[in-house]
C-alpha cells in the first residue's frame, strides 16, 4: 500500500498536476485574443510584459496594493495561510528526503519548528477564513459547498500531516491519510478552482497587460494597484 502510494500514485498525481497545469496555462494564453479582449498584446510585448510583472508583483506583496490595505484582516489571513500552504509542502525536510530518495536531488529545507508553526498557521487561518465566510453577508452570499470542498481539500494534508507528526493514535494510519490527501490535492489542482495556483499568475498578468498597454501604459502611466 505504502509502496504503491509513494511510488506509482505519487508520480501519477504529480504528473497530472504539472502536465495538467502546463496544458491549462498554455491554453489560457492561447485563448487570449487581442480583438475580443480588446488588448493589443502582440503589438506591445515590452509594455505588456512590464505591466504583467508589476500586476503580479504588487499583489503578492503583503499590503502591497490598495485592495490588501483596505482589508487588513483578510490580508493577514490570506498571506499567513498561503505562505504555509506553499512553503511547507515544498521545503519540509521529510518531503525533501523523499525527493532525494526518488530523484536524487532536493530543495532547501526549513527546520522542524518553523514547519510546525507554519502548518498550525495554515489550519488556524483557514478556520478564520471559514468564520469570515460565515460572518460577513457579502462573503456568505458568494459562498457555496464547492468553496468549503476546496478548503477541505487544501486543509486535509496539513491536518493529517500534523496528526502524524504528533503521532496522535496510529502513526502509519495518519501517514497514509496524509499521503492520500496530498495526492488528492495534486489531482484536484488542474480540475478545480485550485488551478488558481497557476492561473492566478495568468489572470493577473492579463489585467497587467491590459493596463500596461491599453489603459494608460502606452501613455506612460504606471498603474497604482
Amino acid at each position: 500500500m505504502y509502496e504503491f502510494l509513494t511510488g506509482f500514485m505519487f508520480w501519477l498525481a504529480l504528473g497530472v498536476c504539472l502536465i495538467g497545469m502546463a496544458v491549462r496555462t498554455i491554453l489560457y494564453f492561447k485563448g487570449l485574443q487581442w480583438n475580443l479582449d480588446r488588448v493589443a498584446y502582440k503589438a506591445y510585448p515590452v509594455q505588456g510584459f512590464k505591466g504583467a510583472i508589476r500586476s503580479i508583483y504588487k499583489w503578492i506583496l503583503p499590503f502591497g496594493t490598495h485592495g490588501w490595505r483596505k482589508q487588513p484582516f483578510m490580508t493577514v489571513m490570506f498571506f499567513s495561510f498561503h505562505i504555509g500552504a506553499v512553503v511547507v509542502p515544498l521545503f519540509l525536510l521529510a518531503h525533501n528526503l523523499f525527493l532525494k530518495e526518488q530523484l536524487g536531488f532536493s530543495l532547501i529545507t526549513i527546520n522542524g519548528g518553523v514547519a510546525d508553526f507554519l502548518s498550525w498557521l495554515v489550519i488556524i487561518t483557514l478556520i478564520f477564513i471559514i468564520l469570515r465566510r460565515l460572518a460577513l453577508p457579502e462573503v456568505r452570499i458568494l459562498t457555496n459547498w464547492y468553496d468549503y470542498l476546496i478548503i477541505l481539500i487544501s486543509a486535509a494534508p496539513f491536518i493529517t500531516g500534523l496528526l502524524a507528526r504528533y503521532e496522535v493514535g496510529n502513526y502509519s494510519f495518519w501517514l497514509l491519510a496524509h499521503i492520500i490527501s496530498g495526492e488528492l490535492l495534486l489531482f484536484a489542482i488542474p480540475f478545480t478552482k485550485l488551478s488558481h495556483i497557476f492561473l492566478f499568475f495568468a489572470s493577473r498578468a492579463q489585467l497587467g497587460m491590459d493596463y500596461g498597454i491599453k489603459r494608460g501604459g502606452l501613455k506612460g502611466t504606471v498603474m497604482d494597484w
Binding site: L27, Y28, F29, K30, G31, L32, Q33, W34, N35, L36, D37, R38, V39, A40, K42, A43, Y44, S55, W59, H66, G67, W68, K70, Q71, M74, F78, L136, P137, E138, V139, R140, I141, L142, T143, N144, D147, K193, S195, H196, L199, F200, A202, S203, R204, Q206, L207, G208, D210, I213, K214, R215, G216, G217, K219, G220, T221, M223, D224, W225
Partner: protein, 462 residues
C-alpha cells in the same frame, strides 16, 4: 408573442423605425413586449462559444468568492451594503449562470440580467482594481450587455441610442449639415467679441481635427463656440470634419458592437480623408473611451491605435497652457473651494490621472483646490456612467447611485466641481437638483475662457 413590434432582436436600421420607437413614449409598449420576448438559447450559446474565451472563462472559474471586491463598488456601498450588489455576485448570478447553463435561460432570467447589467453596474471597472485575482467585473458586464442586446433585452433609450448611431452616425438625430451649420452659426454669434473667429471645415493636413459630442450640437451649442475660441486664441491650425465628427458611442453602452464599429469607422475615415496631425476630442469621457481606447479594436486595428494620434481635450488644454499658447490672467483664477471629478473613462481606463490636475494648477488660485477621496484611478464613478444617466426605467436606482459622489463632494467642502466629462457633468447636475447641496459644476472650457488673457489679434477693435 415571441418578437414584439418595438422590442425584438433586430437592431434599428432606418429613420422610420427610429421614429416609430421614439413614438412609444417612455418605452411603455416596448417594455410590455419585452416581458413576452423569447430567448434564442441556441444563438446565445453559439455566441458564447465563439466569443467567451479564456480570459472571461478563467475569471468566472477561479473567482475565490472572497468578497474583497464588495467595498470597491459604489452601488454596493450606497445600497446599504446589500449583498446582492457585490460585484462578484452580480456577475456570477448573470453571466456566470448563462455560461453554466449553456445558454438555457428564460425570459424572466434575461429581464433580471438586464436590470443587473444596466442598473447595478456602470462598467466603471473599479472592482477590477480590488480583486486579488485581477477579475474585472466591469469588462464582463460590458460583454454581458452585448449578449443581452443581441437577444433584444436592452433598455429602450439605448436601443434608440444604438439605432441613432446606425442611422445618423451620431448619438442623436443630428445630420452632417446641421452640425456644420450649428458650428458656423455659433462662431458668427461670437465673431464680434472675438475678431477673426472662424471654424475651418474639412481642411486637409491641419494640425488638429476636432470632434464633438452630438449633445453639444443639439443642446449646448455654446460649447462649440468655446472650443473655437480656445483654438483660435491658441493660434491653432484646426479643422472640423463635416462627416465623422461624432466622437461618442451610445452603442458601446448598449452592447451593440456592430454599431460601435460603424460609428468609429466613420470617424477614422475622416482622419484618413483629412490627414490631420492629431485629433482632439471634446470634454467627454465615454466619447474618448469609444473612439480612442476601444474603437481601434472594434475597427480591427491590430496596433490598438486610431489612424492618427488622438488626445482628450484636457491633454490639449494642458499642453496649450504649459507651452504658453493660452495665457491665464492670474487675477481671474478660481478663488472658491474647487474639486475635480476624475472620469473613469479616461483616468482609470486611459491613464490620464495628472492631466486635469496640471490644468488646475494654472487656473486655480493656490490653496483653493481640494482633492476628492479616493481620487485619480481609484475615484468612484459619478453614479451615472455606462448609460445609467439616460435610462428612465432605472432612474430611481441611478438617483441612489449619486449618493457616493454627493458625499465625496461634500467631504471636500468644494463649492465648484470641475467635470471634464459630459456624463459626469450630467450626473453632478442631477445630484445638485436631487439633493441641493449648493454646488456649481462646470466644464473646463468656459472657466478657461473667463480668465483668458486674449492675444492681441483677438482683442476687440476699439
Amino acid at each position: 408573442m415571441p418578437e414584439g413590434i418595438f422590442c425584438n432582436k433586430k437592431p434599428i436600421e432606418t429613420q422610420e423605425e427610429l421614429t416609430a420607437l421614439l413614438g412609444d413614449t417612455s418605452g411603455t409598449q416596448y417594455y410590455k413586449e419585452m416581458k413576452e420576448l423569447d430567448v434564442d438559447t441556441k444563438l446565445l450559446w453559439t455566441t458564447i462559444q465563439n466569443t467567451c474565451k479564456s480570459r472571461i472563462r478563467t475569471w468566472l472559474e477561479i473567482c475565490a468568492h472572497c468578497g474583497m471586491c464588495a467595498d470597491s463598488c459604489f452601488l454596493y456601498l450606497v445600497n446599504d451594503r446589500d449583498p446582492k450588489q457585490v460585484p462578484a455576485y452580480k456577475i456570477q448570478s448573470t453571466l456566470g449562470e448563462i455560461v453554466k447553463r449553456k445558454g438555457n435561460v428564460d425570459n424572466e432570467f434575461m429581464l433580471m440580467a438586464m436590470e443587473t447589467a444596466w442598473a447595478k453596474c456602470t462598467c466603471c471597472n473599479r472592482c477590477g482594481m480590488y480583486c486579488p485575482h485581477g477579475i474585472d467585473m466591469g469588462i464582463m458586464f460590458g460583454y454581458l450587455r452585448g449578449l443581452l442586446y443581441q437577444q433584444g433585452f436592452v433598455p429602450w433609450e439605448l436601443k434608440i441610442g444604438a439605432g441613432m448611431h446606425r442611422v445618423y452616425r451620431a448619438q442623436m438625430d443630428v445630420s452632417e449639415e446641421e452640425f456644420v451649420e450649428t458650428f458656423q452659426w455659433m462662431v458668427e454669434e461670437n465673431e464680434e467679441e472675438y475678431p477673426g473667429l472662424t471654424v475651418p471645415v474639412d481642411v486637409e493636413n491641419a494640425d488638429i481635427m476636432y470632434t464633438v459630442n452630438a449633445r453639444e450640437v443639439k443642446h449646448y451649442p455654446e460649447d462649440l463656440a468655446e472650443a473655437a475660441i480656445l483654438f483660435h486664441a491658441a493660434g491653432e491650425n484646426w479643422t472640423i470634419p463635416s462627416k465623422g465628427w461624432e466622437q461618442t458611442s451610445l452603442a458601446m453602452f448598449a452592447g451593440d458592437w456592430a454599431a460601435c464599429k460603424m460609428q468609429v469607422e466613420n470617424v477614422y475615415a475622416a482622419m484618413e480623408r483629412l490627414k490631420p496631425k492629431r485629433m482632439v476630442g471634446t470634454e467627454c469621457g465615454h466619447a474618448h473611451r469609444a473612439t480612442v481606447v476601444e474603437g481601434p479594436y472594434w475597427a480591427g486595428r491590430q496596433d490598438g491605435r486610431p489612424p492618427v494620434e488622438c488626445i482628450h481635450y484636457i491633454e490639449w488644454l494642458a499642453e496649450a497652457l504649459r507651452e504658453g499658447k493660452l495665457k491665464i490672467d492670474p487675477e481671474r483664477r478660481i478663488k472658491v473651494p474647487v474639486t475635480l471629478q476624475d472620469s473613469c473613462n479616461y483616468v482609470r481606463n486611459h491613464g490620464l490621472r495628472e492631466t486635469a490636475r496640471e490644468i488646475l494648477s494654472y487656473i486655480v488660485e493656490p490653496g483653493y483646490y481640494r482633492e476628492m477621496s479616493p481620487n485619480r484611478e481609484h475615484n468612484f464613478c459619478c453614479g451615472g456612467g455606462g448609460g445609467f444617466n439616460g435610462i428612465g426605467l432605472f432612474r430611481p436606482q441611478r438617483n441612489k447611485g449619486l449618493i457616493t459622489k454627493r458625499d465625496q463632494i461634500i467631504a471636500t467642502g468644494a463649492e465648484l466641481v470641475i467635470a471634464p466629462c459630459h456624463n459626469c457633468w450630467d450626473a453632478i447636475r442631477d445630484l445638485e437638483e436631487e439633493f441641493e447641496i449648493g454646488i456649481k459644476w462646470s466644464f473646463l472650457k468656459p472657466l478657461v475662457i473667463s480668465m483668458l488673457e486674449l492675444p492681441d489679434h483677438m482683442k476687440p477693435e476699439e
